[in-house]
């Protein structure tokens, strides 16, 4: 048993991180002249090709291989339907060789509506929408029947879809919406872990310099202990996310449970990081003066996506109390 990241996984993540640091800095997320910053460059390093089979121009990797890289996209609060395109789309478009090629090249950003999901995120930044209906996947050209539903996150926008839009939808016979939902949920959990890490780092840095009562606020025990608790929450959420990816890849019987565990734990850790970040920053954390609010909004947005903490916890409760089988 060997539960640790491989050099390849870490190398992909490091590359993604470098690209994002250079091409998706907070100013870019915030002002967004290019509303999909760094997209093409990440295609260049293979992020969008990761889960596409090799015969269709992809890398043929597993979801678990992309978890550290997805964390980085969360750390950068990268705009656009990243989790959807990297994790969900290859399973939905499995029967569409042309689309798979587009995916792998980064030219086909995809967003989705799967399972009990109501709103489509980043539909404005996608070229193709895939919608589940009655257990099957359907493709829709982007832009038809969408209504923007403005909310807390100004970057990751949500859209509702008119029921009539489905009339023009094209069935995707090779698509597997169930696998896609599992994968995109894990990918979102990984982004939450990344966003939480960013919030922790930023808040630690701020607490080290901001002075009140004659000392940096980070020297006060109350601030220290609260940040330590965030570090602990993130530290013990991350392995659940990684484990969920392995379970989904291996189609283990516990996969759904493990996905719910990952999403709930990552969402809670990230919400704790957000709450603490705002409390430590004080009033300035609310304002346009800092970028903090972009990450706060992203955390709230992702924590509610693909099932918020409450429904995942309810599922976990049922699953564990009826059959607490350990893995492996």
């Amino acid at each position: 048993m060997d539960f640790a990241l491989t050099d390849d996984q870490l190398a992909l993540a490091a590359t993604v991180r470098e690209v994002l640091r250079a091409h998706c800095p907070p100013e870019e997320v915030r002002h967004g002249r290019d509303r999909r910053p760094a997209w093409a460059r990440l295609a260049g390093v293979g992020l969008f090709a990761a889960l596409v089979p090799e015969e269709h121009g992809g890398l043929g990797l597993r979801l678990a291989d992309t978890v550290p890289a997805l964390e980085e996209t969360g750390r950068a609060a990268m705009p656009g339907p990243v989790a959807e395109t990297v994790a969900a789309a290859p399973a939905l478009l499995a029967g569409e060789p042309d689309s798979l090629g587009g995916l792998a090249s980064g030219k086909l950003p995809v967003s989705v509506r799967l399972g009990e999901q109501v709103y489509i995120p980043d539909a404005d930044l996608a070229e193709l929408l895939v919608v589940e209906s009655g257990g099957r996947a359907y493709a829709l050209p982007a832009g038809t029947g969408l209504t923007h539903q403005p909310g807390v996150d100004p970057v990751r926008r949500l859209f509702s879809l008119a029921p009539s839009a489905l009339d023009a939808a094209r069935p995707l016979p090779g698509g597997d919406p169930r696998l896609a939902l599992r994968r995109v949920t894990v990918a979102t959990a990984a982004q939450l872990v990344g966003a939480a890490r960013h919030l922790l780092d930023t808040t630690v840095a701020y607490a080290g310099t901001r002075r009140q009562f004659g000392a940096p606020i980070g020297s006060f025990q109350a601030v220290k202990h609260r940040l330590a608790d965030v570090a602990i929450a993130v530290e013990f959420a991350a392995p659940l996310v990684y484990r969920a990816a392995l379970s989904v890849d291996a189609a283990r019987p516990t996969a759904d449970r493990d996905v719910s565990a990952a999403k709930a734990a990552a969402g809670e850790a990230a919400e704790q990081a957000a709450r603490t970040a705002l409390q430590v920053h004080g009033a300035i954390g609310y304002t346009d003066e800092l970028d903090l609010r972009l990450w706060l909004a992203r955390v709230w947005s992702l924590a509610a996506a693909y099932g918020g903490t409450a429904p995942h916890r309810a599922r976990l409760r049922e699953s564990i109390l009826s059959d607490p089988g350990r893995w492996p």
């Binding site: 539903q149 403005p150 909310g151 949500l158 009033a283 346009d288 909004a297 509610a304 918020g308 409450a310």
Partner: protein, 384 residues
């Protein structure tokens, strides 16, 4: 000791309830942190004032109706239960006014309070500075002696309501040689129509401008806008901030109304039992806060000083408010994150606005970390 209100109190409740039922706008007003919303809220305050309901606990001569503390708590319960708008006059009515009653001159009260009650003047607080958030003693803004008054210099920030308000109040250093807590003077000053003052709204999470920066560059303020004696500002401000933490700012009514809305939401959405458990707990906590406040009101009426124990209430209500709004988010899922502008918004975006607003509760009026230290040192007597 009795479970029931007196007949007079019941009558007052009935009157308030009836008036609010008739007068509360059927749809929420636009946010008071926008220019149009600010004026809509001012118009609402004027309507309240015309019914002598804008400052019920003040003496009649200043526009109030001399209500007791318990009556004021009753009014607040009815006010929030009716879904009435947030109080744009809050900084003046609940923060400055108690200080004017305690430290102002008869002339200041006569000039300032009726206009405040009538919403002709809306006040902003100007406590914080960039280098002095919770640490008020680190203030740097100065008031320099001038003919018959003072000239103000410096930079205030996180001034709530300042983006659109008429007046502000805050502390200024008048004796640079005095130690941190000394040499501060409590001053009131205009935000509009005068030279040497610039207001810059601060854009915030969720949109709107609930805060502003105030840049002061020689604004002239006559002596009759000094509250109390020059150099005595710290003591006077501490009296204000303790009323801010105490009873006056955060009457239970607002939290009771939120708790009731939360229970309705949980029933409506068919809450998961684990969430329902937390909802019930929050509802009871609002109830506990209410009972505690009635007991405190009684003690104040009997002439007791509440003092640092008020910090317990501050921590309790502010964390309860966050908890209730977080529960609403959990009950609503993604819909709970939609703003009022979204067609699908839950309750016109109020749950989201309330959530963002609640997160400020543990920060302002002395962070909850500071409150806990006050409780430990000044209520429990632990060593500094």
């Amino acid at each position: 000791m009795d479970l029931d209100f007196t007949p007079a109190e019941r009558d007052f409740r009935a009157e308030a309830r009836a008036w609010l039922r008739e007068n509360v706008p059927p749809r929420p007003l636009p946010s008071m942190d926008t220019p149009a919303g600010f004026e809509a809220h001012r118009a609402w305050e004027r309507r309240l004032a015309a019914a002598r309901l804008s400052a019920v606990s003040w003496p009649e001569e200043y526009g109030g109706r001399g209500a007791s503390l318990v009556e004021w708590l009753i009014f607040e319960e009815e006010y929030w239960a009716a879904g009435a708008p947030g109080r744009v006059s809050q900084n003046g009515v609940f923060l400055l006014a108690p200080t004017l009653f305690a430290f102002g001159t008869p002339d200041q009260r006569a000039r300032l309070l009726p206009r405040m009650a009538a919403a002709d003047d809306i006040w902003a607080q100007a406590w914080s500075e960039p280098e002095a958030g919770s640490d008020l003693a680190a203030l740097r803004s100065r008031a320099v002696r001038a003919e018959g008054g003072w000239r103000l210099y410096g930079h205030k920030t996180w001034s709530s309501r300042a983006a659109y308000a008429d007046w502000a109040f805050g502390l200024f250093r008048t004796d640079p040689a005095a130690p941190r807590h000394r040499g501060l003077t409590y001053l009131m000053f205009p935000l509009t129509g005068a030279d040497g003052v610039t207001v810059r709204p601060i854009a915030q999470l969720g949109g709107g401008h609930g805060f502003a920066e105030i840049l002061l560059d020689g604004l002239y303020v006559p002596d009759d806008l000094v509250l109390g004696a020059p150099g005595d500002g710290w003591r006077i401000a501490m009296a204000t901030t303790s009323s801010e933490r105490g009873l006056t700012l955060r009457s239970p009514g607002r939290f009771l109304a939120t708790a009731d809305r939360l229970v309705r939401l949980a029933r409506h959405t068919g809450a998961d039992p684990a969430l329902a458990d937390e909802v019930a707990r929050a509802w009871l906590d609002a109830e506990a806060y209410r009972l505690h406040t009635f007991a405190t009101a009684r003690r104040i009426a009997a002439g007791e000083e509440i003092g640092p124990a008020a910090s317990m209430g501050k921590v309790f209500w502010s964390e309860l408010d966050v908890r209730m709004h977080r529960l609403a988010q959990r009950l609503l899922g993604e819909r709970g994150l939609l703003s009022g502008a979204a067609p699908d918004a839950a309750d016109g975006g109020r749950w989201l606005d309330g959530f963002l607003f609640s997160l400020a509760g543990p920060i302002y009026a002395g962070t909850n970390e500071i409150q806990r230290t006050i409780i430990a040192e000044r209520v429990l007597g632990l060593p500094r």
